[in-house]
Structures are given as C-alpha cells and as structure tokens.
Symmetry: C2
Subunit: 143 residues, 2 copies
DNA sequence: GGTGTATAGTTACTTTTGTAACCAACAAGG
DNA sequence: CCTTGTTGGTTACAAAAGTAACTATACACC
C-alpha cells in the first residue's frame, strides 16, 4: 500500500519551506498592506527603486526575478499612488526610467525600518548564529 | 535619504524564505503537474488521504491549514480524476468522508516515492546535518 | 418543540496571477 | 533603405486564490 519509506509531510522540505515562508510573509505583508495598500510585488519594486535608485522596469525584473507583467502592474499601481515617476530614456525610446517621488521615498524609508525591525525580532528569536545559518541555507536553496 | 541601516533585500529573511520556497516548490510541482495534472492543493489533499486514511474535508483543512474552499475545490478536482470517493458520514449528515480509490492510491504511492527521492537529493546536496538544522529552523518559523 | 448559534461544505463574486499575443523601437545584415 | 529577429513594455484572456454569502445539519438552552 504505502511506500515502505512513508514519511510525514512535515519532513518534506518544500512543504516546510512553504509553510515558513507563508507565515513570515503574511506577518510582514500586513505592514505594507495596512499602511499603504500595497501588494508584495509593489513592495519589492518600491524596495528596488528606493535601495538602488532610478532604473527601468526591465532592470527590476531582472534583478528581482519578477516577471515583467507583474512588474508592469506593480509600477502602474505605484504610479497611481504617486509613489513613482516615469521618465523616458534618451538612449532607448522603448525604455522608461522609474524613480521614487517624495511620498514613495517616505514609504520606502518607513517600510525599510519596519523590515529591519522585523528582521531584528527574528534575530532575537532565533539567535544571531542560527539566523545566519538559516540565511546561508536559504541562499543555497534559492539557486 | 535611505535609512541609516539600509540593508539588502537578500538579507531580509521573508524574502529569502520565499525565494527558496518558490524554487523548491516549482521543482516538485512539475512532477505532480506533468504526471497527473494536479495543483499543489490537490497534491496536499491526496497526500493526507494517502498517508492518514479516510477523513473529512474539514479534517484535512485543519491538519494542513488549508482554507476549506481550497480543500473543497481540490476534492472536486480529485473526484473528477476518479482519485477519491465521497461517502456520507453516518453520525453527522453534514460530513462527507473522503477516501482514495485505487488510481488515487497509485498516484499517491508514485508521488510519495518522487517526494522521497527529491528529499534524498536535497539531503545529498546539503548534508544530513545541515538539512536537519534547516528543518528545525523552518518548523520554528512556521509556527 | 422553538430559537439561536455553530459547523461542514459549496457557490458566487472579486482580486491576483500566469500566459500569450501584441505594439513600438532597436539592431544587424544584406 | 528594407528585411528579420530581438527587446521593453502593455494589454487581453484564462486560471487560480481569497472573501463572503448561502444551504443544510447539528447542538444547546429555554
């Protein structure tokens, strides 16, 4: 009947990863959702622009491994919130350069702080040593 | 401009968790998707019935922390594939007991083996020690 | 019994995501 | 210049997930 090496779902790493990711994501998503009505992709796009400065949608897509349609929609949403501004590139007229506007910058600063606080809490919970090990492992798995 | 403790997105654990989870999930989802045209929730429901035997949708929902509408839809899909059978409970006529049928059992066996193989591969990649540590950490985070 | 509340499960509606087609601009080779 | 192929970006359509409302049964208390 069952395979001889029948195992628990809670021993299956993809399942565990997902459960942990969902729990953590949901916790932080409340922050950007409640404060700014943002979706996860919007937060990620905002983060990239805030952290690395003006860039094109394509570049965000590449760096963050987000599909271009998702980026496109997130950019529109952020634009509607007056968080960013589009500027046509001079070298390539297909490209639009995206940059945060003051309200977007403020949201980025606020959310960055919240993220750092969230991370600090996690560190307190797991300990510096174990959190470091976790990060290392996750980076390996993400590739 | 940027908060003084500006950090990388790749140092943000929720992000890392998500990236790792997505990578791993996608890898294994190809198996049940390509072989049986199943979605993730369907695989999880199938797993619960295969591993723990006949139970109600509500019980799956509870044990697996899947919303009842998702379970309901997954059950319908599995029924359409002739993977499971519904049987009204005698004690409570609201309840339907779900059990795998032979094709569902075969799919469960096959996918369990594939999952175990996947897990073994991961273990080879990370080492028993580190995989154990990872699981422990993830369980803590999932709660 | 009758009334109120909780539960199992489905369905309808809305939001979000995924996929594919599309447009406009570039680039290379003839 | 004119193909042909590629790339940045948007839009249209389809699939999936989330939320809320609904049906039917159960259960508790009067």
């Amino acid at each position: 009947m069952a395979p001889d090496d029948d195992f628990e779902l809670t021993d299956f790493t993809p399942y565990l990863l997902n459960a942990a990711a969902e729990a953590q994501s949901q916790e932080f998503s409340r922050v950007y959702r409640d404060r700014y009505g943002m979706l996860r992709t919007e937060w990620r796009v905002l983060f990239h622009l805030g952290r690395y400065g003006e860039m094109s949608a394509r570049e965000i897509s590449r760096r963050a491994s987000i599909h271009k349609t998702k980026v496109s929609r997130a950019v529109s949403a952020l634009e509607a919130k007056r968080f960013l501004q589009r500027r046509p590139s001079e070298e390539d007229r297909r490209v639009e350069l995206l940059a945060l506007r003051p309200p977007g910058r403020a949201a980025f600063d606020d959310l960055s702080r919240a993220a750092a606080a969230h991370e600090a809490e996690l560190e307190a919970r797991l300990g510096t040593q174990r959190l470091g090990e976790l990060r290392l492992l996750l980076r390996e798995l993400a590739m």
